[in-house]
C-alpha cells in the first residue's frame, strides 16, 4: 500500500513535481507560494533555484522546456504580472519538455497588495489552468498538468489559493517516474516568435484551446457528483470543500480544469438540476462564460467577489443564517508589526525624527506605514518605491522631494528595484534611495537571494555587492552605514536629502530572525530613572510597554537586545544586561 502522510498544500505541489520527473524549478519567493521551492530543494534529483524575479524564473523554465526537460516556475499572483511578458508568448511557442507555472492567489489578502484572480490572466493568455482542492489533488494535478502540457503542447498553470497552499491534509506518496529528455530540434516557426512565425502560432493556440475545451468533457479532473436534483453547484478549488461541508447531498460539478471550460459538460450538468449556483472565489470567471452560453445560474449576485469564501457564507445565502451562537466582541486590533530588534525600526526612527516621507515598497518594511513610526507613505508593487519617487521629482520639481526618500529591501532591490535606479541615473535624479539591507528576503520567511552568497540548495556562491552594483550603474554617491548607528544615519539622511546629488544609502544590519544574529544582551528598564517621557515608546517596539504608573517595562523574553530604545532614552533609564 502507498504510504500516506499529512502534507501542506505547497509541500504536496513540490512532491507532485518530484514524482512527475521535473528536472528544473526556478522561482522568486512570495506568500503563499514560497514553500513549494523550499520543499522541492530537498530532492537531489531536481535542480532548484531562486531567481531575482518571476520574469526571470519563467524564462529559465521556458529554456529548460525548450531543451527538452520537464520544468517548473513558482510565484504568487502578483508575480505573474512580472512574468506575464514571457507567459503570453510561451503560450504561442508551446513546450518541448512539459512546463508548469504554479501561481498562488491570495483571496483575503493574508500577505499581498491586491486580490487579483489568476484565471483572468490565464484566459487572456490562452493558458490552461488546473485548480486542486486539497493536498492530494495538489500532488495529483501537478502530474496531470505535465501530461496536459506535453499532450497539448502548452504551458499549464496550476492555480492555488492561500487556504490550499497553507492547509495540511492527507497525501498518498508515489515514486518518482523519470521522464526521458526530449530531443531538441531547431524549429524557427515554433520557437522564434517574430511576426511571420507568431502569425502561424496564433492559429495553433486557438486550435489547441478548442481541442482541450472539447476534451475537457471527459478529463478525469472534472467530475459530476450526482446528488439532489433540486440544487446544484459548479465549483472548484477550496470553494468545493465549503460546498461539501454545507450541502453534502447536493449535485456538484467539480471542475479541476478551470480554463478552458467544457461547454457540453456544463450544459449537461445544468440541465440535470433545477437551480445551479456557481461558487467561485474572487472573479466570476466560470459564471460569465456559463451565462454567455445562455444558461441561467446564480453567482455573484449572491456571493461576493471579495475575500475568502467560507461554509458560513454559503449557509447565510442558502438558509439565511450561519452557525454562530455568540456575538463578536469588539477588541483592540493587533496588526502585524516589526519584530523586536528589527533594523528597519532603527532606520524608520531616524526618518520619523526628521519628518521624512518614504516612498515604500514590498516587504516587512511596508509595516513602517503604521503608527507610531508612520513614515511610509506609499506601497504599490515590487520596485515602485524608487521609480515613484522619481515621478514625484520630475512632476513637482526637485525641491518637492527634499523631505522624501525611497525605501526598498535588498531582495526587492534585486527583484525590480535596480532597473528603476538605472532610470534615476539616466534621467538626472537628485533623489535619496535607501536600500534596507538585512541580508535576506524577510517577509516570506528568510530566503536567500543574489546578494547573500548562498543558493536555494544551500551552496556557497558569489554574492553581489550592492554598493558596487549601484556605483557600476553610475550612482554618483553611494554610502554604506550600520542601520543601528542612528546618529550617523541621521547625519547622512539630512545631508543627502538636502543635496542635489543622487544618493543611495545602504543601511546594513541582518534580520534579527536570521540564525546566529541575536544580540548578546537584553535591555532592562530602570523604574527609578524613568521620567515617563515616552520617547522609547515612539519607536514602536512590542517588547516595551507601560506600567500602570506610566513608567515603562521591557519584556525580556521578547527583547532581542538591539539597544535602539536605549539610544533614545535621555535619562539613562534603560540599560543593557547580559542575557
Amino acid at each position: 500500500m502507498a504510504k500516506k502522510t499529512i502534507m501542506l498544500g505547497n509541500e504536496a505541489i513540490a512532491r507532485g513535481a518530484y514524482e512527475a520527473g521535473v528536472k528544473l524549478s526556478s522561482a522568486y519567493p512570495g506568500t503563499p507560494s514560497t514553500e513549494i521551492s523550499e520543499y522541492l530543494a530537498k530532492y537531489d534529483e531536481v535542480y532548484t533555484e531562486w531567481a531575482p524575479n518571476e520574469k526571470v524564473a519563467t524564462e529559465v523554465a521556458i529554456g529548460a522546456s525548450f531543451s527538452g526537460v520537464r520544468s517548473l516556475a513558482c510565484m504568487k499572483h502578483v508575480g505573474l504580472n512580472v512574468a506575464s511578458d514571457p507567459l503570453y508568448t510561451f503560450a504561442y511557442t508551446g513546450v518541448n519538455g512539459g512546463a508548469v507555472i504554479v501561481v498562488a492567489d491570495d483571496p483575503g489578502l493574508a500577505s499581498s497588495q491586491n486580490e487579483q484572480d489568476t484565471r483572468m490572466v490565464a484566459r487572456s493568455a490562452h493558458v490552461p489552468v488546473l485548480e486542486p482542492s486539497d493536498s492530494q489533488e495538489a500532488k495529483d494535478f501537478m502530474k496531470i498538468a505535465y501530461e496536459i502540457s506535453e499532450e497539448y503542447d502548452t504551458p499549464v498553470i496550476l492555480r492555488t489559493t492561500t487556504k490550499l497552499a497553507h492547509s495540511q491534509s492527507a497525501v498518498e506518496l508515489c515514486d518518482r517516474v523519470e521522464v526521458d529528455d526530449k530531443e531538441y530540434s531547431r524549429n524557427v516557426a515554433k520557437y522564434v516568435m517574430m511576426p511571420a512565425s507568431a502569425i502561424g502560432r496564433h492559429v495553433v493556440v486557438e486550435d489547441r484551446e478548442n481541442r482541450l475545451a472539447s476534451d475537457a468533457y471527459s478529463l478525469s479532473v472534472n467530475r459530476i457528483e450526482k446528488g439532489d436534483n433540486k440544487i446544484g453547484f459548479i465549483t472548484s478549488g477550496i470553494a468545493y470543500q465549503y460546498v461539501k461541508e454545507v450541502c453534502p447531498n447536493a449535485s456538484v460539478l467539480k471542475l479541476g480544469l478551470v480554463n478552458p471550460l467544457s461547454k457540453k459538460l456544463i450544459e449537461e450538468f445544468c440541465s440535470s438540476v433545477e437551480t445551479v449556483y456557481v461558487f467561485e472565489e474572487l472573479e466570476p470567471v466560470i459564471e460569465e462564460q456559463v451565462r454567455a452560453w445562455g444558461i441561467n445560474v446564480i453567482g455573484k449576485e449572491a456571493f461576493t467577489r471579495q475575500g475568502e469564501y467560507s461554509a458560513n457564507l454559503l449557509k447565510r445565502v442558502l438558509y439565511g443564517s450561519d452557525d454562530a451562537v455568540f456575538d463578536k466582541t469588539a477588541v483592540p486590533n493587533r496588526p502585524p508589526i516589526l519584530c523586536p530588534g528589527c533594523p528597519h525600526r532603527s532606520v524608520y526612527s531616524v526618518l520619523n525624527k526628521l519628518k521624512i516621507h518614504a516612498s515604500g515598497d514590498i516587504g516587512c518594511y511596508t509595516l513602517g506605514a503604521v503608527p507610531p513610526l508612520g513614515v511610509v507613505d506609499t506601497c504599490v508593487c515590487m520596485g515602485a518605491s524608487i521609480s515613484a519617487l522619481h515621478g514625484m521629482e520630475k512632476g513637482k520639481g526637485k525641491d518637492y522631494i527634499k523631505n522624501w526618500v525611497a525605501v526598498i529591501g535588498d531582495s526587492t532591490f534585486l527583484h525590480t528595484g535596480v532597473n528603476s535606479l538605472i532610470n534615476l541615473v539616466y534621467n538626472k535624479s537628485t533623489a535619496t534611495v535607501m536600500i534596507l539591507d538585512n541580508r535576506t528576503t524577510g517577509m516570506t520567511g528568510h530566503q536567500d537571494h543574489a546578494a547573500t552568497g548562498k543558493t536555494l540548495k544551500g551552496e556557497e556562491t558569489y554574492a553581489i555587492d550592492l554598493a558596487e552594483l549601484c556605483r557600476a550603474i553610475g550612482v554618483p554617491n553611494v554610502i554604506e552605514v550600520n542601520a543601528f548607528d542612528t546618529k550617523e544615519l541621521e547625519r547622512i539622511v539630512k545631508e543627502s536629502t538636502q543635496s542635489d546629488v543622487l544618493t543611495v544609502i545602504i543601511t546594513k544590519a541582518p534580520c534579527v530572525l536570521l540564525k546566529g544574529q541575536k544580540f548578546p544582551n537584553v535591555c532592562k528598564a530602570n523604574f527609578e530613572a524613568c521620567k515617563k517621557c515616552g520617547m522609547c515608546l515612539k519607536i514602536g517596539c512590542p517588547a516595551i510597554t507601560k506600567n500602570s504608573d506610566g513608567t515603562i517595562k521591557i519584556d525580556q523574553t521578547m527583547c532581542n537586545g538591539c539597544g535602539l530604545c536605549k539610544s533614545y532614552c535621555k535619562f539613562n533609564a534603560i540599560e543593557t544586561v547580559v542575557r
Binding site: 497553507h166 451562537v325 483592540p332 523574553t557
Partner: protein, 190 residues
C-alpha cells in the same frame, strides 16, 4: 462527527507547531485530518489563528464561527477576539498572559480589563499561567507544551499518545523538557 480545534495567539508564540502536534495526534488516532495555517505577514507579531479539524472525512480546512469544540488561546486578548467561534458547549483554554498590541502601546486603544471573568460568564473556561510554569521548569520556550498539555484532556486521545508525538516533533535537544512541560500542564489543577 468532525472535531474542531482552534489555536489563537500572537505571531511568534508558536501556534503553528502546536496545531501540527494536535494534527499528528489525531492522524495517528486514525482520523482524516486537515490543518490550516498562517504564513507571511501576519506572523510578524499580528493576531494569528490556526485550525485543526479531524473526523471520518473532513472537507473544509478551517473552523468557522459557532463551530469550535476547543479553542486554545495563548493570550487573553486573543481569547476574547475569537471566543465567538465556540460552539454553545465549547471549551476555552487560556494561557493567562497579556501582550499589548501596538494599538494599546501607543494609547490609541485600551487593553480590556477582566477578560477572563467576562469570558467565564459565557463559556466553560480553564486558564493557566504557562509562562510562569515554563520559567520554573527552566525554559520559557516550553510554554507551548505546558499549555498544550493543559488543553489535551479536553481533546482526548490519552496522555501517552500526546507524549509520543511531542517527542517526535520538538527539536531533539528539548525532548525531555518539553515532555516534562506537557506532563505538568496535563496534570495541572483546573
Amino acid at each position: 462527527m468532525t472535531k474542531n480545534i482552534m489555536i489563537v495567539g500572537v505571531g511568534g508564540q508558536g501556534t503553528l507547531l502546536t496545531s501540527r502536534i494536535i494534527g499528528k495526534v489525531a492522524l495517528e488516532g486514525g482520523y482524516d485530518v486537515k490543518i490550516s495555517e498562517v504564513h507571511g505577514m501576519a506572523q510578524r507579531g499580528g493576531s494569528v489563528v490556526t485550525f485543526v479539524r479531524y473526523g471520518e472525512k473532513v472537507s473544509e480546512p478551517v473552523v468557522e464561527e459557532g463551530q469550535a469544540d476547543v479553542i486554545i488561546a495563548f493570550e487573553r486578548l486573543e481569547a476574547l477576539r475569537y471566543a465567538h467561534f465556540l460552539k454553545k458547549d465549547g471549551v476555552l483554554i487560556v494561557n493567562d498572559c497579556r501582550i499589548d498590541p501596538m494599538t494599546v502601546v501607543i494609547g490609541a486603544m485600551e487593553y480590556p480589563e477582566g477578560i477572563l471573568e467576562e469570558l467565564k460568564n459565557k463559556h466553560t473556561l480553564y486558564s493557566i499561567d504557562g509562562q510562569k510554569i515554563a520559567l520554573e521548569l527552566g525554559n520559557s520556550k516550553v510554554l507551548n507544551s505546558v499549555v498544550l498539555g493543559f488543553a489535551a484532556p479536553y481533546i482526548g486521545f490519552g496522555k501517552d499518545a500526546w507524549l509520543s508525538v511531542v517527542e517526535a516533533t520538538v527539536p531533539p535537544k528539548t525532548i525531555e523538557i518539553n515532555k516534562k512541560a506537557f506532563a505538568y500542564g496535563y496534570e495541572a489543577e483546573r
